[in-house]
Each structure stands twice: as C-alpha cells, then as structure tokens.
C-alpha cells in the first residue's frame, strides 16, 4: 500500500507493507536520525514529532515511531532532527547549539529524540521550569549522561530563544591556594543545596585543582569534536548505511536453558522465497574461541564456537538466517524446526559445583576449563604474606558476606553489524564495537580468513559500557556474507540484548579481616563465588579485578583471594563498566564500616587510617594481572582526603547528626540518611594495554590524527585531539581526528579498562612531540635560519623563536611538502605503561527510606573524584554524572530476573528499569584535580570509577537512616521492607 508522509516539509509517497513501522519507513526515506532502541516503545530513541494539522505549530506531538505503523501515519506531517536546521554546520537550532555547548551529547544516539522532545516543550512553553524539562525528556532514555547536561542545555536554549543574554557555559576551575587548602564550590555557605526536582541543575560541577598547568587547550571545556554531526542527526552509526542488495540477518535463540540439538530441519525456512541462507552447527566449522575482546593471547577458557550442537542458556545461539526483508527473516526463523534433548539445568553457582550437577561444558574439545566436571571455568588463588597467621594474631577480626546480582549494560544502541565483500574481495565488517582490532584478530580464524582479508570499521557507537568489549555477533554476520556473497545487516533485538549479549557477573563475596590494637589492618581474606553463566569470556579477568579492588583500596600487609568462577545455565556475564570493582566495593565499603562499628571507631576515621597513601605500594598488582602476571605499582598521586572533604561539604554530611533532618515530622514514616564509599580504580592495564597514534601535517598547517582508540560516546576523540592540539600549539579545530579502522588507523587495544585518556593519550602525546620535533627542525634548517631547533616552540599555529621571529605552520607545511627538503612531516607513536595510577573518589549518597513500604528514594548523589588533571572538565564530569546514575540503577532497580526454567522475566526496558530524566536525584560531580606525573598532562582515568561506589554508599545511607545493614542488591522495596522486620 502507498502512504503519504510530509517529513521536514518534504512530501514523500512511499510503498509500505501492512506491518511496516513508521520508524523503518522513515529510515528507508533516509531520515537516519530516527533510531532503533527497542521494539516496545520504552527507549524513545525512535521518537519524532507528528501532527495531522501541520499549519498549527502547536499541534505537533512527540510519538514513538517504533510503536506506530507507517500506515497509521498516512497523511501526517513529521519533524525529525534533520528538520531542526539546515544540513550545514554553521546553522544550528538553539537547542542544538546548547546541546553542543553544554556537553549534553555523549554517544549521541538518543540526542535526536531528546532534541525533538525538548522542541515540543519549548514550542508550547517558552519558559519551562527544570521539572517541566525533565518531564518532557522522560520518555527518551539516555544511558550516558545522567541527564544533567541535557537538562541544562534545554534550559539555556529556552533562555536563548527568549532573547536573554546567556552567561558563557564554562565549568569553573578553581585554583587551590598554596599549602593544600582545598576550596570547595558553592556560594560560600554550608555547601548544602536545597533538593527537589526544580533545583537539581543548580548544583553545578565544581572542579578543584592544584598546580594548574599552563595550557591552552588541555584542561579546557572544549566542545566535543563529533558533537556537530551527532546533534544534526547525521548518518554516523553502524546502521546508518545502505548497501545495494543488503540482506537482513538474524539469530534463532534457544528456548531451553540446557539442551542438546538432536535435529535441525531448515528445509522449510530455506524454501521460503527471499531466504538466502540458513546456517546451523552443521554448516559452520567448529573453531573454539573466547569471545571477550582482550589482548592476545585471549585469557582462557576457549569454550565457545560460532554455532554449536548444544545450547547452554535460554537465548543461546541455534541458527542464523539471511533474507531479503526483516519480515521474511522473521518468518524463516520461525520455520526452522529444532528437536532438542532437554538436559537438566543449574542456575546457582554453588549448586553447579556439587557432585551430580549437570555438566554444562561436557564437550571434549574445550580448552583450559579449570574443572569442567565441577562446572568451574576458572579458579583464582592469590596470596600475599600469611593471612592466617595475621588474623590469628589480630586484636580484632571481623567477617561478613555480601551478594550482588546480574545487571545489563543496556546501551541504547543494540549490537549491530554490517558486513560485505569489497572490490578487492576483502571482508569489511562495520560494527558497533569497543575493540575493532581484537575483533579482526579474533573473528579471522572463525571465518577461515587471514586477518589481512578482513577490515573492521568502527563508526560512531551508541554506547557500550563494556557490552561491546566482545566479539559478539561479528562472526555470525560475516558467516552470512560468506555464505551468500551479499552485504548483510545483523542486529540484536532488545530482548536479545538481555538474553544473548553480556551482563555483570553476580557474586557472593565473603570478607574476613583483622586489625591490630590501633585499628590498622593486618590482613584480609576475600573469598568469592562468581557466576559466569554459560561461557567463560571475561570470567577470569573480571573476577581478578574484584580481588584486586577488594584487597588494594586499603593497604594490607597480608592478603588472600580465593575465587571460584562457575558456569551456570544463565546468559553470560562479561565486561561491564567497573569490571568487578562494583562487586568488590559493595562488599568492602560495608565490611569496613561494619568492622569500624564493631571496634567503636568512626567508620571514616577507620577508612582513612587504612586507605592507601602516596608512596605506598600496591603489592597485589604484581600477582593480579589480567590473565597473566601484572606489574608492581606505587601510588604517586592521591587526592582522597580532599575528595572526602569536598564531598562532605557538598552533600551536607553533618545532617547525619541532625535528628530534625533524619526524621521528617510531616512524614513520620520517612527516615533520612547519608552514606559514603571510598573508591579506587585503575587506569588501563599495566604492561598490557597499548595504544598508537599517527599525526600528519597538512598543507594548511592542520593535522590529521589517526587513532585506533575507540570513542564509544565518552568523548575520547575530543580528549585525544586536545592532547595533540596542546602539544602542537594549535586550536582544537586544526586537529582532524579519525577513529577507528583497522585499515587506516594504527593499533589500539580498544576502549576498556579506563585506558584511553592515559594509554592512547600517551601515544598521541608522543606522536605529537615527534611531529613537533620534525616541524621545528625543518623550520630551523630552512625558515628560521641561524636558530637552534631546540630553542623553538609551537604556539598559536606558528613556530616561534626566542628572538621574536615566527613562521606559520602553513608555511612550514607548504615548504616541507613542495619547496625544499621535501618530505611528509608525520609520526606514529605507541604507548604502553607499566604504571596504572589509580584514580580515587569519595562517593556520597543521601536517601529517604519509607519504613512502612521499604521504598528507598535516593535524593542526592555526590562524587568527588581525583582523576588527575581532567583533559576536558566537561566530558570528565559527564562521565561521572552518567556513571553515578547507572550505578544507582545497580543499587536500587536494575535486575535480571529468571523463572525456574532460566527464562528471563524482564527482557525489555521498563520491566528492566533504567533511570529516566524525571526521577534521577540531584547529582553533583566534583573534580579534585591532582597531577599524575606519569599521565599525559597529568591525567588519570575517570570512566569507570563513578560506577564503583554508589551501591555501597546507598547501603551505608540506608544504615544511617534506619540502622539496617543490607548485604544484598538491589534494594527493592520488598527487600527493604522485609529487612525492616515485616
């Protein structure tokens, strides 16, 4: 049937079939800003403005084009993000302008829908309150920002549209006075901001810093280098590409938790017109691998194959299909007949280790499973000193146990891959990945191709959070291209994101520690049982980080870590921002407080006495590498004391001691409390993570910066370009950064382990320094004759001599390329570090506990973080804000829940609740800047640490409010209500 759509003022007549969605129809019309976030309308990434009376500008309404049939919209007028302004860079709607200015864009996948939601609001209400802005944005889920900066952007755009003068959007940077007196932000009062939905953005980010470096670009709030294309909704994501003859690929998943495939009949599916391939374990070579995107050689076990004759969890791979349309694909998947021999399944890791439990990996060819007969993927044992003797001799010993659950990364962009044969018969894989170089190396043997025949392209990524640190579906898409010879697009549904992707490892953690008579820790024993689901992937390394974080945040002369990493018939956990640390700290930060209470010490004093200090070693760093031995570490920067002081003031810590605040006479069932957690993370994996960068001078004095590092929305392209610009003495727009493509950019391990700023940034710094050297040498030889090259420097786009002579970079470039001593000024550098300097943070949470219902409402989250020097304070605070909100979901509402047969009960957003714009607490990020001598321009990491401390801070706040000690996540109303003695 044919329908008419008026989109952004252009009339379209388009042929649709009866079940076609408005979303897919709009994307077929190349309005690629309309995104697929899910199938059931909760993500709102597909939202557009729609009306049937286009002459009335107030009649437009925000609707989700993914839960509307195209036929329903016949005759309607629609506005998409492409319609907000003309395609050119310089033309921006005030909303777009403010989203760029405020750093409201991280991955940018939900940005087009957020802009439209805001536009509808401002069209109706030119002077909205913050609460009204939050309500307007509530139906567009964002997993990156925590919503603070988008809300600020909308409020500023409203003011701009009203014709008001706007103050510049700059994050205040306050220099610390001499003598380590650390200023804190706010109005000079007590630092307590009133709460409530209308004032949340008044709690501005307050960076505090010591010894400011003299920089022009670094440490400045530069707009993100990819912001313009994202705010314009341009076709930049993996799916935003049309290929002639492209087929649609999809996965048939297992309905059973544990079964053998006895028979697969694909004849009916193959007979369906438009079906080009159906592949099962009978069609694809059996090559064992581990899917975690990690350095060579990948940590064991190798317990996966592309398609197997056995399924090990509901959602496991059974068969793949390529067909001409999504509808034929779906129909074909349903026509595949599979006969299963259903096997007993096991869902609890402790049960799984018992004799007689079903053996999940009984295949004889799996490699390096620790003890397959007991379902033990790995067993980790690390020992420092003599814990037993230390605890036997301790003045006091305390032991406690904690349980953490399974949660999902829930990036708004699902996993999506396009693959095709190029004109040189090489396989191109365009994929939403954090690890393009690992993907190429890992997928090659599965496809029977040498890596040189494969090119992996990483376009813009719609969020990853570790979920895309996998070679997850690239093999399946590529198998279909190889089988059909055609381009194939392969995407997960939202349900498959939950059942067939990755998640966070559930664990049971038991801490046992002892102190001397002064309260100094003398030893700690950590025992963990971890659930790695059906496959090993990141099972070894995540759990090793749990051990390292659990046993390194506080300095220990004796420590022991024992961990069983156990298979169960559940969807597989993997990498998820924090990578074992959130689990460890949920236990540790309560264990320390409980121990302090038992000792009669103030918990904060007890922690301060024991946390690692500058100059101290991290002895376990050597024993606990990721999949191999690591390297000893010494702490060289630590702003933890200052973080605690700044955070205490910001959160209003002293309210803990005010009975009038803790109990609300108007609401007698409410109790209030504030909790704290100390966090320490890593910065890249020492001796393992490596990044490389190439920098090339162009005719006009601009530079191409080519990096293998993978910006998945965090802003790392911007940060890396800032490092290059600073070093080369040019403004940011003179750096043209490109990431990442295995054909065109040098290697990088990828975006994980909080490594990009420090490791890849170190490579950019080296390459820029080398290019700078080449520039000044050429200038000294030819253009500033008589001047020693060592005395020249780069500034404001020119080579400058001490005698005041200057020659522009353009002149140097033209001269070196065309006129004399011709050569390309260019350098490639690599960086690897044996140092992994820990960022530190103090995480605070304030809560209200409803003692009659058990409902916990978090009212404030404050994180003061020492990330070294923030290369970009706006993107750094954006990481902190968004991370805290994700982590709050871990504490309160996110949970993968199963029935007795191992079927996930909530495989959709909404049922799996992530925070929306209108319900987040007041959030505040404070950058307490130290100078890390080993980092580029003093930087350490910031990406993961915001994930680590919220859950224990909330737990400690609930304790403060009610006296309850809750040792199991998440704190759902019923769990808290039960703990309250009901």
């Amino acid at each position: 049937m044919q329908i008419q759509l008026l989109v952004n003022g252009t009339d379209h007549a388009i042929e649709v079939h009866p079940g076609e969605l408005l979303r897919t129809a709009l994307r077929r019309l190349r309005y690629f800003s309309v995104k697929h976030g899910d199938e059931t309308g909760e993500s709102g990434a597909d939202a557009v403005l729609l009306t049937r009376t286009p002459d009335d500008p107030h009649s437009y309404r925000l609707v989700n084009s993914g839960v509307m049939l195209a036929a329903q919209a016949d005759g309607a007028a629609i506005v998409t993000a492409e319609g907000l302004s003309s395609p050119r860079d310089h033309d921006l709607h005030p909303l777009q302008e403010q989203f760029v200015t405020c750093g409201a864009i991280q991955c940018g996948f939900c940005t087009p829908a957020q802009l439209l939601a805001a536009k509808q609001l401002l069209d109706e209400n030119p002077n909205p309150t913050e609460g009204e802005v939050r309500t307007a944005l509530a139906g567009v889920l964002c997993r990156c920002t925590g919503y603070l900066k988008p809300v600020e952007a909308v409020l500023r755009a409203a003011a701009q549209l009203r014709g008001e003068e706007l103050p510049p959007y700059a994050v205040d940077i306050i220099d610390a006075p001499e003598g380590w007196e650390w200023p804190t932000g706010g109005d000079g009062g007590d630092g307590i901001e009133p709460g409530g939905t209308d004032v949340q953005t008044r709690t501005q980010t307050v960076p505090v810093k010591l010894a400011p470096p003299e920089t022009a670009v670094v440490n400045k709030p530069e707009p993100k280098v990819d912001a313009l294309k994202l705010v314009k909704g341009r076709a930049v994501f993996a799916d935003d590409l049309e290929m002639p003859g492209m087929l649609h690929g999809g996965l048939l998943t297992s309905p059973h938790a544990h079964a053998r495939i006895v028979r697969i009949d694909k004849s009916k599916a193959l007979a369906l017109p438009g079906v080009h391939a159906v592949l099962t374990h009978e069609d694809v070579e059996r090559v064992l691998y581990a899917s975690g995107g990690q350095s060579y050689p990948n940590p064991p076990p190798y317990d996966q194959v592309s398609l197997d004759n056995k399924v090990r969890h509901v959602g496991d791979r059974v068969a793949v299909v390529a067909a001409e349309t999504p509808e034929i694909l779906q129909h074909a998947l349903e026509l595949i007949e599979v006969e299963y021999e259903i096997l007993p399944a096991v869902f609890d890791p402790v049960d799984a280790m018992q004799p007689g439990a079903p053996i999940i990996h009984d295949e004889p060819d799996a490699v390096k499973i620790h003890d397959a007969a007991r379902n033990m993927a790995q067993y980790l044992h690390v020992n420092l000193g003599d814990v037993d003797a230390a605890l036997a001799g301790a003045a006091h010993v305390y032991e406690s146990e904690y349980r953490v659950h399974q949660v999902q990364q829930a990036a708004i962009e699902p996993h999506i891959v396009l693959s095709w044969w190029d004109e040189d018969d090489r396989l191109v894989i365009r994929t939403s990945t954090q690890v393009p170089f690992h993907v190429r190396r890992m997928v090659a043997p599965l496809l029977g191709l040498p890596p040189r025949k494969i090119r992996v392209v990483k376009p813009r990524i719609g969020g990853g959070f570790g979920g895309k640190q996998e070679m997850l579906i690239e093999d399946l898409c590529a198998h279909l291209t190889i089988a059909t010879g055609r381009p194939v697009r392969f995407e997960y549904t939202r349900a498959q994101e939950f059942t067939s992707s990755r998640s966070r490892h559930p664990q049971v953690l038991r801490y046992r520690s002892g102190v001397d008579a002064n309260g100094k820790l003398v030893g700690m024993d950590l025992t963990v049982v971890a659930d790695t689901g059906a496959y090993g992937t990141h099972g070894l390394t995540v759990q090793m980080v749990t051990g390292f974080r659990g046993l390194s945040t506080y300095w220990l002369p004796n420590a022991r870590f024992n961990c069983d990493v156990v298979y169960t018939n559940k969807p597989t956990p993997g990498a998820f921002r924090g990578y074992g640390a959130p689990q460890a700290l949920f236990g540790l930060e309560q264990h320390m407080e409980e121990f302090a209470e038992q000792l009669g010490m103030d918990p904060l004093d007890f922690k301060r006495l024991n946390w690692v200090k500058v100059g101290q070693d991290l002895p376990l760093a050597k024993a606990m590498g990721e999949g191999r031995e690591g390297f000893a570490q010494t702490v060289r920067s630590n702003g933890l004391d200052e973080c605690v002081a700044a955070g205490k003031q910001a959160v209003g810590w002293d309210r803990r001691f005010d009975p009038a605040w803790k109990a609300d006479p108007a609401r007698p069932h409410i109790r209030r409390g504030i909790g704290l957690a100390i966090c320490m993370h890593g910065t890249g994996i020492a001796g393992l993570d490596m990044g490389a960068a190439s920098i090339k001078l162009n005719d006009d004095g601009s530079f191409n910066l080519l990096v293998g590092a993978t910006d998945l929305g965090t802003g790392s392209d911007t940060v890396l370009a800032q490092i290059a610009a600073e070093t080369l003495g040019v403004p940011l727009e003179q750096i043209i950064i490109y990431s990442s493509d295995t054909d065109f950019t040098p290697f990088d391990t990828g975006a994980y382990a909080s490594s990009t700023t420090y490791i890849s940034g170190g490579a950019v710094l080296k390459a820029a320094e080398e290019v700078r050297e080449q520039i000044v040498r050429h200038a000294a030889n030819h253009l500033l004759t008589g001047m020693d090259a060592d005395r020249l420097w780069l500034e404001d786009g020119a080579v400058v001599a001490p005698d005041g002579r200057r020659v522009s970079l353009e002149t140097v470039a033209l001269h070196s390329l065309h006129q004399a001593d011709q050569h390309q000024i260019m350098a490639t550098a690599s960086h690897m570090s044996y140092i992994s300097p820990p960022p530190f943070a103090a995480q605070f949470a304030a809560v209200e506990v409803d003692t009659q219902t058990g409902q916990v409402t978090c009212t404030d989250l404050v994180m003061a973080v020492d990330c070294g020097i923030a290369i970009n304070p706006v993107t750094a605070t954006g990481q902190v804000e968004g991370g805290m909100v994700q982590a709050l979901g871990y504490a309160l509402c996110e949970e993968m829940v199963y029935d007795d047969a191992g079927r996930l009960l909530n495989p959709r957003l909404g049922d799996y609740r992530i925070y929306a714009a209108d319900e987040v607490p007041a959030i505040k990020a404070i950058l307490v800047q130290t100078y890390e001598p080993s980092g580029p321009y003093g930087a350490k990491a910031v990406a993961e640490i915001p994930m680590d401390g919220v859950a224990p801070a909330v737990a400690n706040a609930i304790r403060d409010a009610t006296g309850l000690r809750l040792r199991q996540l998440p704190f759902t109303p019923e769990r808290v209500w039960s703990a309250l003695g009901n």
Binding site: P18, G19, Q120, D850, L905
Partner: protein
Amino acid sequence: MAILKEYHKPTSVPEALALLARTDVNLVPLAGGTRLVGALETRTAPGVDGVVDLGGLPLRAIQTAIVDGAPCLSLGALATLTDVCEHEGAAALAGGLLVQAAQGEGPVNLRNQATVGGVVVAAEQDSEVYAALLALGARVVTTSAAGEMVTPLADLGAIDGLVTAVLLPEAVEAGAIARISRTPADRPIVAAVAVRHGTSTRVALCGVAARPVLDGAPLDPPDDYKGSTAYRRSMVAVLRQRALAEVAA
C-alpha cells in the same frame, strides 16, 4: 517483527465492527498502538493476520454529554491521555487526578499515543489511569452489532464490540494517589487511588489483582519480581490509608 497481511482504516463504527467480525482472517483493533505494535514486533501477539486502525473513527472528542438524563463528561475512546490532560474539565476532575494518574502510565511520548479506550481494554494491573477511572466511578460505552451499552467500569467483563467512550461525573472534589515503585517514575508495584466528593470516598487499587479493582473487591495479587503476593497484600492498608488521608486534607 510485525508480519501483517492486512491493514484497514474504517471511518465509521459499523464499518469497523464489520471488519472485526470477519471470520476468514483474524483482525484486531488498533488504537494508539503503544501496546499492540510492540507485541506484534516482539511476536508476542500470535495469530494476528491484520489490524483495524480505529484512528479514522470520530471517537476522539472529550465533551459534556447527557446520558440517562444526567450530564457527564464523555471521553471519546480514541482521546489520547494527552488529550485528557489538556482538556480543562477532565484535567480539573478530582484536583487533577487524571493528570497525575497519566504520569504514572508512562512518559509524554507514550501519553501522546495511548488512548482512553486502550487503557480500558488493556486493563493492565498496574495502570493508575484505569484505577483512577474506577475510583471516579467511570462507565464504559461499548458499541456492538446489537447497539450501544453502558456498563460501570467496575462491572465490565468481556467486551462485546468496541469501547467507544468512557463517561465520568462532571465534578469530583478531590483525588489522591499513594504508590510504591522501584523508582519515582516507574509503574507502581502497588498503588491506591482515592477519590472524595463531599463526604463520600472511593478507593481503587493497582497491583493486587489481574486488573485494577475497587477496594473491597476480592484481591488476587500477582507474585513477581517487583513484589510478592504477601507484600502486595500487606501494602494495601498502608496505601489506602495514605490516599484517604490526602483526599481528606
């Protein structure tokens, strides 16, 4: 992936009823689509051959009507929840109860699509709008081949034909919602919706039966990851008391 053979957009109720009565194909009514289209996309609405889009029917008006000789507020079945919130009379009922309840139903993009009729037909156990309609004493107009019928929402069983309107009293003094949810804007685990007019009060409950029910009806609470049967049962008294206290104030 929605696989449909047919799409129809009738312009009159009899035409729609005739399409829905066809026995050669299974056609289902489509209102806003927020629930059905998602179900079709995720293949959880099996056996649907096609849809009858009700969007062409003249059922979107919100107006005062005289039914059985008494004036009332008639919400057309295809009025969206946003239409209700933007209608002066509907938005003012019981101190803004429907506006508050609509927020519990979902965010603005959902409210722009979801319809009054859809809420009644879906009868989701955690629908605060449904509970608010119950508490307000809503009556449902259904139209079938046999003609029009008006049934109190509380007595509504299997629907014969189409829901064409929901009738509400013209004026109600006060309303309040007390709820428990995982996050502030999440759908409720349990909620109590209270309405007061003069000295008479009425309470409806979410999350304690297969659909929202009037307080006093037999409870059969779900038992799921959001709350056990026992928890939900225990919360009724707490929330009822809170909602009633608020409407009394």
